[in-house]
């Protein structure tokens, strides 16, 4: 009973708030956002407790069980994703409230965009859709939620209004639509073969035949495009870097995780028995390439937001190592590590983008050269960036460290030295680009006088999120325990080394 209300609430509360905010056109729109953030935190806590106590929950919406109806389903990984969404969402909400109210008084603002009024409904719908996606147990419903996410994400990028942002948004939209249509074709094939779109039922009946492979390949590849796995990442850097400050973090932290979560679900809960090991390795090889390519490009960039965006390309690569590693004895470790890395990356990356947004607001540019000595003016922000960087590099104590620890263990346990080497090398390269930013901002140059004062919330929100990443690296038993609830059947394949 409890969990049902929490699950429905997680989806419906932001949606209802979006309607209220839109219809009443209230001036206290940010207050509504913060109220939603508080409710969501409560609901997430509630759901987490109930899942920890009584295992996975399934709610047949409309009273119709699968295959006819659409159930909501919450297990360990989806709850972890929900916690991630709530943490990043709540801090981003506070950040956005400060950002847009500051922007209204900004004399440099040129375009006549009605930003503040339109940001909130879009973001609240995105929030609702993210929660809906993480709770969905139906592959067609996943498509609808994914489209909701895409459209709101594109609109949020377009909010920036600059030509660069528009080009990036169009490119992103075309890529995302292509991806969705690939996915939808796969869904059509699956339904015509198995007569159901519930992934629980599909998991029971799936067979190794050409139609299933077709469906799996189309769905996975379509989602790869949306997750921006190398070499399909072409749209990501510009889209994430040109979005407004509070949006970049949401895109990198949460929106990418949505399609990745779908791949994880489909692969490990549905297609794992019928897909050959080599197909998983293909994804892992692409992931390794992504780590190297994304890191090198991040080092090459001159704009900070682009560096962080390319860093996302690299970090997405880490997430895909699991598909090769999970085929072998240490699969469970890799699976846990990947889920935890998704969480760690969301918090760290959102914090990094928030810092970049704040400093960009202050200086008026995110060119690294303009940031010399900025850290002496804004030590809190640079500290938050450093903490996020620690997690991205995979150094302790941070959630990123624990995740990479698990991944490295899996790689070494499987005797995959090359993967282990890539994991470590990626951490080193991350250190190079993170310290390029931090080094420049701490340099002795005198900061430029013509800067805007940063609202206090734009300092604290990233710091809080960065602290979460650190705490997530210190207190680890509960999240790992959470991940064991409803873990996929690769658990059975775990063999002691």
């Amino acid at each position: 009973m409890d969990a049902e209300w929490a699950m429905t609430g997680l989806i419906m509360v932001p949606l209802a708030a979006a309607i209220v905010v839109y219809v009443t056109a209230t001036r206290f729109v940010a207050a509504w956002g913060v109220a939603v953030a508080m409710i969501q935190t409560g609901l997430t806590f509630w759901l987490t407790r109930s899942i920890l106590q009584s295992g996975p929950v399934q709610v047949p919406l409309g009273g119709w069980e699968a295959p006819l109806g659409i159930p909501l389903y919450a297990d360990g990984i989806s709850v972890l994703m929900l916690i991630m969404t709530t943490l990043v969402g709540a801090t981003s909400t506070c950040y956005a409230a400060a950002y847009f109210s500051a922007l209204q008084h900004d004399p440099r603002r040129s375009s006549s965009q009605p930003t503040i009024q339109t940001f909130w409904p879009l973001w609240l719908i995105l929030w609702s859709a993210l929660n809906a996606l993480f709770l969905s147990a139906d592959v067609f419903n996943l498509y609808v939620t994914l489209e909701l996410i895409t459209i709101s994400a594109v609109a949020l990028i377009g909010l920036a209004g600059k030509a660069q942002a528009l080009v990036a948004a169009i490119r992103y939209l075309f890529a995302a639509l292509m991806g969705s249509l690939f996915y939808l074709l796969g869904v059509a094939l699956l339904y015509s073969t198995y007569g159901t779109v519930s992934w629980h039922l599909l998991a029971e009946t799936v067979q190794a035949d050409v139609l299933t492979w077709c469906a799996a390949s189309l769905m996975i590849i379509g989602l790869l495009l949306k997750t921006a796995l190398f070499p399909l990442h072409f749209w990501l850097p510009a889209a994430h870097a040109n979005a407004p400050a509070p949006v970049s973090g949401l895109l990198s932290g949460l929106v990418l995780k949505a399609s990745f979560f779908m791949i994880l679900r489909l692969w490990f809960y549905v297609f794992h028995p019928v897909m050959p090991v080599s197909a998983g390795w293909m994804l892992s090889v692409l992931g390794s390439a992504a780590i190297l390519w994304g890191s090198i490009q991040a080092i090459r960039q001159q704009r900070v937001k682009l560096m962080i965006a390319y860093s996302t390309v690299a970090q997405v690569g880490y997430l895909f190592l699991v598909f090769g590693l999970a085929c072998e004895p240490m699969g469970m470790l890799a699976w846990r590590g990947t889920a935890y890395l998704a969480f760690a990356h969301a918090c760290a990356k959102a914090a990094a983008f928030m810092v970049a947004g704040s400093l960009m607001y202050m200086v008026g540019s995110d060119l690294l050269d303009r940031w010399e000595g900025i850290g002496r003016r804004e030590p809190k922000l640079i500290f938050a960036l450093a903490l996020a960087g620690v997690s991205l590099m995979g150094l302790p104590p941070s959630a990123g460290f624990i995740a990479k620890w698990l991944l490295l263990n899996a790689a070494i346990g499987n005797g995959r030295w090359e993967v282990a080497a890539v994991i470590v090398l990626g951490g080193l390269l991350a250190a190079v680009y993170m310290f390029r930013i931090i080094g420049v901002s701490l340099s002795s140059a005198v900061p430029m006088p013509e800067t805007m004062p940063i609202p206090r919330m734009m300092r604290w929100a990233p710091l809080v999120l960065a602290m979460v990443v650190i705490v997530g690296g210190i207190v680890t038993t509960e999240p790992i325990r959470l991940l064991e609830i409803g873990a996929p059947p690769i658990a059975a394949r775990e063999v002691a080394p």
Binding site: V23, G63, W64, S111, S112, T118, A155, L189, Y191, C214
Partner: protein, 239 residues
């Protein structure tokens, strides 16, 4: 020259690859058994309890009503997005003024009431035959667009809050019904079987209006109310 060759090469490679993909997927479809039940029987078996006799409507508004709720959200979201992108600088379509075309105006005068009637019919008939809120909304929406194109500036009379209510009333009703069900039955959107027919109609009617409003708003660039266009904003007609 080199560029051209490169273009031709990539087109050939692309063509071959896409043909291969299409070929494999087609082969896979060809291997499908000739007959399959899918969920047709399951849907038919529960039709009694669903409150409607048209199976498509029963799927749409009962078995998979949650999808439909999200779908209405998508439509509203598109309006919001269009408003963000276009609303700031344009009113949408080209010049809306007292048009000089008497034939169009006459036709509109004839067609509009008919289209409204048809949409009402479609809404009602959806319970037991092809039709429903989406079809009704589409017809109603096209009536609205036709009016705008003919220069009948009816949307000017819509107040700003009215526009917002109109666009969201379908979704709001849907959510209220869903939450009411949850209070009564314990599960979101689980209609009590005896009221299912009426609840579906309660959802469909405002949804149809909202869908129509959303389609018109999308046509007009995110807003229902179109102001008269400034002459200096005429340049964006080229796309």
């Amino acid at each position: 020259m080199k560029e051209a060759w490169r273009g031709i090469t990539s087109m050939t490679i692309g063509g071959v690859l896409i043909a291969a993909l299409v070929g494999i997927v087609s082969y896979a479809i060809w291997t499908l058994p000739a007959q399959s039940v899918g969920l047709a029987d399951a849907a038919a078996a529960e039709l009694e309890r669903s409150g409607v006799s048209n199976p498509v409507t029963s799927v749409l508004l009962n078995y998979r009503a949650y999808d439909t709720l999200l779908e209405i959200t998508v439509l509203w979201l598109a309006v919001l997005a269009a408003m963000v992108l276009v609303g700031g600088w344009s009113t949408g379509v080209g010049q809306i003024s007292e048009t000089q075309n008497p034939v169009l105006r006459g036709l509109v005068r004839l067609l509009t009431p008919l289209m409204i009637l048809i949409s009402g019919y479609l809404l009602w008939v959806g319970g037991h035959a092809p039709g429903g809120a989406f079809q009704a909304g589409a017809v109603l929406g096209s009536a609205g667009v036709l009016l705008v194109l003919a220069g009948v500036d009816w949307t000017r009379k819509v107040p700003p809050w009215g526009e917002r209510v109109l666009l969201t009333m379908g979704l709001t009703t849907f959510m209220i019904v869903g939450l009411g069900d949850m209070l009564l039955q314990g599960v979101f959107l689980e209609y009590p079987p005896e009221y299912a027919k009426w609840l579906i109609l309660v959802i469909e009617a405002p949804s149809g209006l909202s869908i129509a409003a959303a389609l018109i708003a999308l046509f007009l660039g995110g807003r229902l109310r179109c102001r008269h266009m400034m002459s200096d904003q005429m340049s964006d007609e080229g796309v």
